[in-house]
């Protein structure tokens, strides 16, 4: 659990905003604005933030499903940021993704068995009887019955479909699985089943997860470390226990305070932040959170705080208390 499997350095992804008949560029969406993190083998890094904070763009950039504007992505020590499609192909085997909506990410005209077997066929790893046997084994691993291999996606429930997506991701024995909101489309009772499955599979296979979700409780459950994003930047990153026990960034604190607790005796519905997330087209200067922060100082409007180590392994991007954020 020591060497870094994935290292992302200063990742940026900007999208042009075009308007008018000439489609002239009138602005830039700063979807991801300088994100750095690393992920160790066998580790789960949770990436949380609200809609539009860039967490999904980070996930897709890591897999080179979208081309980053700048920055560096190293997988197993090798820089994959600028590899061509053919050069990238062998690396694709070691990175897989599970998407949010298991209804949209499965081809409705393929059988479940074909869907799970497709990556093996594409990479020429198995065919015929051998392929079928491998797929049957994958089905068992994710808690589906091999006799369901001939069924089509619409014959499965939402939770089962997500199991098919997970089996497909497992097929190539990847070292990194990116999970982009894998349980947010599922009912709570099914959500627990899928989270448990993901945890069990990681224990068996030792791969890493980059786990993206907006639900803090889900992230808290599955992750070893958690990174909090706001408007394209990581504002805080720490070990899970440390982050939840001792959040330092005012945004993290506000997020945690906003989660409704399932305990009627702990009523505390007091929003710590007002207003909405500003547009990533013109993000606020300085610290992007200063417009909603209760502790904003004059400096915060002009100075962009760097992500610095505030305590052992606990990094925060906040100017309060000499860059250590506000202790909870």
């Amino acid at each position: 659990m020591s060497e870094a499997l994935l290292e992302v350095t200063d990742l940026m992804k900007h999208y042009p905003v075009r308007a008018g008949v000439l489609r002239r560029q009138v602005g830039t969406v700063h979807a991801v604005d300088g994100v750095s993190f690393s992920l160790r083998t066998g580790e789960t890094l949770g990436l949380v933030g609200e809609s539009g904070c860039g967490k999904s763009t980070v996930a897709r950039s890591v897999l080179r499903l979208v081309e980053p504007t700048s920055g560096q992505i190293r997988l197993d020590g090798e820089d994959i940021t600028h590899l061509s499609k053919t050069e990238l192909r062998p690396h694709r085997r070691s990175m897989q993704i599970v998407f949010q909506d298991p209804f949209a990410s499965l081809n409705p005209r393929m059988t479940a068995g074909d869907i799970v077997g497709e990556p093996l066929a594409v990479h020429g790893l198995a065919s015929g009887k051998a392929l079928e046997a491998r797929v049957a084994k994958l089905f068992e691993q994710v808690g589906l019955r091999p006799d369901q291999m001939g069924n089509f996606p619409h014959q499965f429930s939402g939770g089962q479909r997500q199991r098919i997506c997970i089996a497909r991701a497992l097929a190539l024995e990847p070292r990194l699985i990116v999970c982009d909101e894998p349980v947010s489309a599922l009912d709570v009772s099914i959500q627990a089943q899928v989270i448990n499955l993901l945890i069990d599979l990681q224990r068996q296979h030792g791969f890493s997860y980059l786990f993206i979700a907006h639900d803090l409780a889900v992230v808290a459950h599955i992750s070893h470390r958690v990174a909090v994003m706001y408007l394209g930047r990581i504002v805080e990153i720490a070990d899970k226990d440390e982050l939840f026990r001792n959040p330092r960034h005012p945004y993290t604190q506000a997020l945690l305070a906003s989660v409704p607790i399932a305990n009627p005796h702990a009523k505390r519905l007091t929003p710590l932040v007002d207003g909405d997330v500003p547009s990533p087209v013109n993000p606020p200067s300085g610290c992007a959170f200063h417009t909603r922060c209760r502790f904003a100082m004059e400096r915060c409007k002009t100075e962009r705080p760097a992500l610095v180590e505030a305590a052992n392994g606990h990094q925060v991007a906040c100017l309060l208390n000499e860059g250590t954020g506000r202790s909870a």
Partner: protein, 336 residues
Amino acid sequence: MSDASDLVLDVKNLKTVFFTNSGLFKAVDDVSFHVRRGETLAIVGESGCGKSVTALSLMRLVPDPPGRIVGGSVTLEGTDLLALDDAKMRAIRGNRISMIFQEPMTSLNPVMRIGDQIVEAVRLHRNLPVREANGIAVEMLRLVRIPEAARRAREYPHQLSGGMRQRAMIAMALACRPALLIADEPTTALDVTIQAQILALILDLQKELGTGLVLITHDLGVVAQTAQRVIVMYAGKKVEEATVEALFAAPKHPYTRGLMASIPAVPASGVAAQARLNEIPGTVPSLVRLPKGCAFAPRCKLVVKRCQEEYPPLQDWGGGHLAACWRAAEVAEEVA
């Protein structure tokens, strides 16, 4: 308990069915509940449990065909809504009873200014000159804490953020000061910091205006933070009803108990990394092919032979805590 005059809504044995190609299914099956003035009743359950159809039935907005309300009564301030003709119902809908939905963008008219949409709602029910109705619209937008209300009233829905749109929906729903507000997953499409703002707003306004509130949600955290009483639905039936305190202290139905155990909690301190969650095995049954007996039996840990043969009646386990389970007594013991 308070007297009957306090009662805003009284639903008795509501039954709503859908006629589909694959057969008839009972989306709401013999559901009863009531809401008092200023009270919040939460209806919880997973997708397909009938919570949204219950809400639509109260508004008499169930699409017919394929759906139809086939039994029961919905009494709002002493009037049985199910007995009214369409014109009378239109006079009450949006006036004495109104509703907000999950996705504000799909419930707002995209080509009409926000203010005008509120004016339309107000003038439909109250014979007011436009100027006066305009004033009410701006006043309502101010009430839901939209900054620069007068300017925002002239904007179109796409110019507002998700949270602002939901505020505008609430303004519209409350413009006629209804006796009952139904909120169907009002914050599910919103981010968590915005959710906290909107829930706090709804509760504030409810206190201010004394509106009865039916809050439909799948999120037990939202229930605990907002409601006084809860009903839990499963496969079209009410399986449990209690005060929030009683429900969270000691759920009596195995389904409720399973739901509570399966939600991950934000750790206050020292939760081991990657603790396994309790899961409810299996999936929600299809309403077309409901098992005989208790619909939860196939997924239930405590299942006995009787559960598969006979549907358990709702029983009072003390202090108005109702649960429909043959083994409710044992569920309670296991929790304690």
